[in-house]
Symmetry: C2
Subunit: 634 residues, 2 copies
Amino acid sequence: MTVNGELQPAVNGHGEPSTPRCEVCVVGAGPAGLMLASNLVRLGIHTKIIDERPTATSLGRADGLQPKTLETLRMMRLGDNLVRLGTKVYDICMWASTPDGSLVRSGRELHYPAAAVDLLDPYILLCHQGMVEDMFIQDLRFRGVEVDRSTKFSSCSATSAGLSVECKVNGTEDDRELEKVLAADFAADYVVGCDGAHSQVRRMVPEAYAAGTPHDSLWGVLDGEVDTDFPDIWSKTVVHAAAHGSILVIPRERNKTRLYIEIKGGDSSFNSKTLGQEYVMQRASEILAPYRISWRSVEWFGRYQVAQRVANRFVDAATGRIFLAGDASHAHSPKAAQGMNTSMHDTWNLAWKMNLALRGLALPALLETYEAERKKIAHDLIDFDVEHASEIARGDAAALAKNFRKNTAFIAGVGVAYAHNVLNPPDGSLTPLGRCARPGSNPPPAKVMRYIDANPVDIQTDIPALGQFKVFLVVPDLSCEFLATLCSSLSAPTSLISRLTVAARRSYAAKPRTAGPEDDYFCPERYTSISDLFTFALITSTDKSSFEIAHLPPILASSPWTIYLDDAASLDTQGRSCIDKWLGGLSSSEAAIINVRPDGYVGSVRRVESTAAAGVEAAQWMDEYYGGFLQAPW
Amino acid sequence: MTVNGELQPAVNGHGEPSTPRCEVCVVGAGPAGLMLASNLVRLGIHTKIIDERPTATSLGRADGLQPKTLETLRMMRLGDNLVRLGTKVYDICMWASTPDGSLVRSGRELHYPAAAVDLLDPYILLCHQGMVEDMFIQDLRFRGVEVDRSTKFSSCSATSAGLSVECKVNGTEDDRELEKVLAADFAADYVVGCDGAHSQVRRMVPEAYAAGTPHDSLWGVLDGEVDTDFPDIWSKTVVHAAAHGSILVIPRERNKTRLYIEIKGGDSSFNSKTLGQEYVMQRASEILAPYRISWRSVEWFGRYQVAQRVANRFVDAATGRIFLAGDASHAHSPKAAQGMNTSMHDTWNLAWKMNLALRGLALPALLETYEAERKKIAHDLIDFDVEHASEIARGDAAALAKNFRKNTAFIAGVGVAYAHNVLNPPDGSLTPLGRCARPGSNPPPAKVMRYIDANPVDIQTDIPALGQFKVFLVVPDLSCEFLATLCSSLSAPTSLISRLTVAARRSYAAKPRTAGPEDDYFCPERYTSISDLFTFALITSTDKSSFEIAHLPPILASSPWTIYLDDAASLDTQGRSCIDKWLGGLSSSEAAIINVRPDGYVGSVRRVESTAAAGVEAAQWMDEYYGGFLQAPW
């Protein structure tokens, strides 16, 4: 098993070849499945990704990337091209009808005002789902993995060695008349259903299906190039005409506009079959009157009824090997541009855990956190969405604005927070109020200066995602003794950190990460010089001129690209430094350790007096933390 | 002649086909030639680009892009990938030997401190010349133009219709043994020699060659991956060891380092032939001692002696059809990372002028500005470079720093300024001190909010380069009468602006710009809705809520993507708005017009009281300005 994505014949107990085998079978090549496959393949996991559709998504479906998603993609060193080509939505407008029949703008404000939420990218990026998929497909292709298309997952069942998976492979579209259907069986350690709302994988997970709560309003969605004198089509805009219903306007890339158009429930003379494109266009004209609208071209038309549901199970309890993610595990309204984002973050959460599990470096507790963490987020999303969707339909601008303000950080994605568990233990020290580096949460964006090359960098994305934990040692004053005793304790061969490092080094030597097309430029080896499992980083407010990297303890001196200065040049517009934003400030006699998970969420935080004794204790605390979910089997 | 880059048979007076013909023959496919060809082809000019080398530059040569170059590429919607992959140098370090033989760091500071120079990209971007060339080659390829390689320019001569060009085409490297040499003749309106220091085109321009001023020191250049304990290899660093000479360290992309190593003039026992790679490496070790240095790999080694010269002529006076640009017209030390940047800006300056000349929209005065403008810059560069190169060699840190500070804006490229001429007439109104929108200069970078979609944008790059003039109407208070009378005067069919617009529309209809690979996303048509020759833009500090784009005068209302708000959200870190930075502020009873040339340099500026009468006068002033170098022949 040395080639990613290519099924290798396994060998059974008798030394005879049996069915081909992969480590993870990803079912569905939408954003969730591709995010998973891309991460697994990057980390060196033998991955097969199948999709029943013969081609990638070219039209319609999802279109919005939230700020947190861009941050996540930056950790993967992806997404710059989307940012370059996509349309950025910075503001949100509200229009309502007046008694005399005209429309007036009742509100126009920033979508993500800095005062409400601190974001590196304070906008929604509109770029078609197909562009996102293509980005991942190219990334996989460079690493030698292609999506197996026209391949439909049929079933899977537990075996002594894992799972046996059955699929059917259709002929391509060109020879569809042949109705060539091939059965394809293979073995896998894990199967992940990223196969959408009608998931076939979900049928393999007993009790997973949850009944939805269908809303009574029906919506049409129209993508195209419009000709209109309505002034706000380049903002996200909600228009509510009392007599005719609501429209949500979403600006699109390539000079296109998406309209979500409500078809009032009261129109009982129509059933959903007859509510075609022409009808929906007419509705749009009525709602937007007295402004005129016509279409230069229509790219896609769809209809949907809002239904909110969350699967009862995200993982098969019996085997622990069958997982659900994305639309297979939750459904909701598309109008808050959450679907593609939440789905990708489901598998972003799962990928690194699965990697460590497959490498034998994780205790079972690690993979168990997936369901707990992502099911909570799905419920948080549905709770928000029920209100949001109905307020758009009601056209209640004030209620919509209030709901929006309450949920701004969540909508942006940075407000997503996991409950306490073994990965995110409660912070024993005094955590400041407001957003900070809090276990289970995203750390706030912060700028620091990289010592070695004086580059100003965004600390939350500077270290690329390589499946490793990022250990930020925050030591304002380097003249303390804390750093020396901490580093020497961590480096001791008996520490769990050291033993995990040895085990991880062996694992990655045997099954390395795959090289990316731009690794020559990004130099990932700079971040794994000490360990494949931990990148140690220093954040200090000590003046640059008073220390040299070479004089730091070895685990830092050997990682020169992760020495960061919390300096005056890096303050944000409100005068806050990284240490201020992450920890609410530290005195010169204090220090802190922030363990950041491979997915960029804060794991655990400890704030101490920067004494020699505290360094020894902090190293023990780290061993305890990592011992809760990792193991060094060798 | 409908296909770019493909030679079309012209027809002679007797209706018989004669030699093939292009409008511009670009000789040399380095950065200068490719910048020219890319711009000409984009603008719809039939361009042939030839190069005697069989392949593009893959190693060595230039590596640094200055901030102004990145700004220029942004106007072309290019360069993002270079920024993403290149190495950014933010600081500069100085080291000097001490009497006891050790080295000490004598200085470490930002290369482009904000207090010294206001830059959108305050760093040098290190990315290999081959990456820059490839970017242009891809851009040309999409537009149907390939570089004609292994094609050596022989000569050109004037004909009644333009120029007759002779070339020789070698076989490819693979069949070199055949010594296949084909003659290739064609006709061209213009030939531009971008063929380097040993330019063959220069021989066609009488009296162009200038004797150089060779410096007596010899330098070796080494690109490779180093293993060293010297701490500052990721900064631009000058090391001067009294006994052994100087090194200039330049960090490179792909974990590489470039070293410029001085070979002291006193080493008379060596001639330049024997000063090989091993010798230069040994020199580097001696200079850097007591730090150690060795090479993991060496990618390229070169040697050069500094020689400064500027060609006496940049254009053939007799025909006005043969031009020189880049290294063909000037030579200097490579150490300030100016060569590739200055060369590209030579042809950036030439391309739009040549386009308008070929379309018959320009008076001869326009193309005549090329030599005057770029020759001045070449002399400015040499004046700076003589000092800079000798100070690096002398290791005089204080003098180097002083020279550097004096020339910071020039080195960054934004300080480049053209003398007054027909394009850059003196500003009659009171120009503020310091950097501002000054005729012949780059406008300072400034942020504004785009009205239509609330995007914060960099105003100096927001309107893409499409060969058009950008007319910024700066009207703080929209309740004045100035804007209405100005726009109505400009729109009158008898105005030169209107007549030029009609002529340009015909010209571009007959010979359109070529479509780029990402035009669907960038929507260039948004910027030529009113005119192919002018993009009208408004900058106002009037509150967004108090006006609608539709209610502006038609030439602005029909250009909704260029209505900009000089608002509180767009202030820079020093609290300055665009109007502050460009004009030193305007009162609410004032207005200004800033005519920005197609290359982004300020052409002319007029500051007026915002009265109705002033609007009429300002339109006349604009007609006079543009009448100085443009014509409407139809």
